[in-house]
Point group: C2
Chain length 385, copies 2
């Protein structure tokens, strides 16, 4: 049974700091009087808290020239949140490239970098590539590595809470890789590893096609589609972190793989060969019959996989991303078939973030982590067994 007890003083201090910090961040710049009004805290409490935040480097008194011109007497001191007090990275480790996005504590972008990597590259080479990309980005932005407060990472596969890749067939040497631990050696701050489609869902909800929807599915459409979903605005990872791994659906009933479906010969395409796929789609556009039939088969399969997801989850919105989203004729058949077979068809939209979607989501996860520490204090009073 839950117990009701009095507040504990350190929790109270933490709540007050979080409240003041949040008020300052929202107001951008405020006087002690304004903070007192915004927070409902007493003047002495606000003074004490602001003093502590200045010592911690999170708040600074704005210089006189930043404020309004002097009018009469001494102007009230003004304070602001130091978004530059720390930095965040959003990383993507994909089959063809690694990418990094750098931001301050307000989530404002300070720079981005990406490098190609061979799909056959072993894990060490891929991680080395990532390290070089990050080092380059930090140097160009003039940000010290020690200033990083959190790093988010999006990568294919089923990822466990500690950042170990439980299963990841898309990248060589990925299954079993202790990715979180490996990256924490390079970064002294928390490293949050997430499935790439999950990170993408978070990204579209933050600043993409799903800002208005808390119940959405992001489909990373490719030869082996993956998906991430938000339920009530929260990432649904599943019990074992494997939710949305619909790529395995085509294995059921021993149906043909997407690589076979998309092939115009008797040989299936290579699972990661985007070039070959693009050629099939280009041929289809030019009217080639066999290519057209292959594209039709591929789209029908994608529709089936997405429909299965929609029937299970009943989202408000489905966002389609990944390279297949850039191909002609994916969106319309999807809309049509979902409207036909789903009892309550969702809206269907294309990703607005394109290639940036995974690092953007990874960055948001890093930002969430820092915000939880700095700004959020949640307490629940429950009287229930």
């Amino acid at each position: 049974m839950g117990r009701l007890t009095g507040g504990d003083p350190s929790l109270l201090r933490r709540i007050n700091s979080a409240v003041v910090l949040d008020a300052l961040r929202t107001a951008e710049c405020a006087t002690l009087t304004e903070i007192t009004r915004l927070t409902g805290l007493s003047r002495p409490t606000v003074e004490g808290v602001v003093e502590g935040l200045i010592e911690a480097g999170l708040v600074v008194e704005t210089a006189a020239e930043e404020g309004a011109a002097r009018r009469q007497g001494r102007p009230a001191r003004r304070f602001r949140f130091r978004a530059e007090a720390g930095h965040l990275l959003g990383l993507e480790i994909g089959p063809h490239r690694v990418a990094a996005l750098l931001a301050d504590l307000d989530g404002r972008y300070l720079g981005t970098a990406a490098r190609d990597v061979a799909e056959t590259a072993p894990a060490d080479e891929r991680l080395e590539r990532l390290r070089a990309t990050v080092a380059d980005l930090l140097r160009r932005a003039g940000v010290a590595r020690s200033s990083l407060r959190a790093v988010g990472v999006g990568t294919p596969g089923i990822v466990e809470e500690d950042g170990t890749v439980r299963l990841g067939t898309a990248l060589p040497g990925w299954t079993g890789l202790q990715l979180g631990e490996r990256l924490r050696r390079s970064f002294k701050c928390p490293v949050l590893v997430e499935n790439d489609a999950n990170a993408a869902a978070v990204a579209e909800h933050w600043k993409g096609a799903a800002t208005a929807s808390d119940d959405m599915v992001f489909v990373l459409a490719g030869l082996s589609p993956g998906a991430g979903s938000l339920i009530g605005g929260r990432l649904h990872r599943g019990f074992g972190g494997a939710a949305g791994e619909i790529g395995a659906l085509h294995l059921l009933g021993r149906e043909a793989t997407p690589e076979a479906l998309l092939s115009t010969t008797d040989e299936p395409l290579h699972p990661l060969d985007e070039q070959a796929v693009a050629e099939v789609f280009a041929l289809a556009r030019r009217g080639d019959e066999r290519a057209r039939a292959a594209v039709d088969r591929f789209i029908r399969r994608l529709v089936h996989d997405v429909a299965a997801l929609v029937l299970a989850l009943d989202p408000e919105l489905v966002v389609i991303g990944g390279w297949a989203a850039g191909l002609d004729g994916v969106l319309e058949p999807l809309r049509r078939e979902l409207a036909r077979y789903c009892l309550r068809p969702p809206r269907v939209a294309l990703s607005l973030l394109g290639e940036a979607v995974v690092p953007t989501g990874a960055l948001r996860l890093a930002l969430d982590h820092v915000e939880e520490q700095l700004f959020a204090v949640e307490g629940t009073v429950t009287a229930r067994r």
Copy 2:
């Protein structure tokens, strides 16, 4: 932005009442001193709250003979929660029968009743059947209709929040029926209408095969399977209440319907003809080749539908119920195929509640509603935009 403000006195009274009530319910019977100790509230507060609860009829002083024998002086007064102060109903309205389960405010069963109804019966006849079943049950149990505090209802279809059936093809006249409103005419208390598979998921979690799992899927296996799921212990209804309606999956790709799959002739079975289905399964057991092939096709489809659900949601546990769960050879192929195709296969178990599963879940929903009013007070302090 969330604001921190002082407690409001009526909320405080409500919290104190909930805490005392919950303590009394847990302890079964307690003195004022014991309640004071259990709740951490002051003696005068406890006295005032208990007085109010007695006036509301929710608490009673236990008679002297109920307590321990007198020892010396006047024994301390003892109080208990009056579980008999109100009653709850859990109802099922299905294609072949209506059923009702009656309980007190502790969720203890007081009686049950069920009647067959023709699958072709129009909505009015079905509801009349339900009313007669309930009236009979209340009379036999000696419970006045006015004593009902909440009624839960489980029924096939997509159900909206107000209890309107948005889509329900399993029962004649069900689509568009304002079921909640119709039932609220018979009952003066809150009526909560829920999809039957959703209610079943809640039931298995409460007292069935899923008491140890907060992330589970219940599959109502039949010719057109439905499913309900709990995520983190909470019912996942989906954005439009249509989550888990996997019965439509077979329509995709114009595949054969289950009725056609299970037929041993060129004619499909009738969608609701359980008798014909049972015969096919019986024939298969006796070694009939065509029946065996039909059963194999049916099970393969069920496995596919369940796998789609599992890939989308990644539950810890799948509970199989509905009539198909009673048929030989459903569980093993399901386990085998899920282990083969799911990246993280869930445990698979049979329903423990059988025919009682939907009314049991409906009762739990009614109990949740009442407990929320009586026992639960949740307050959240958040400093976050």
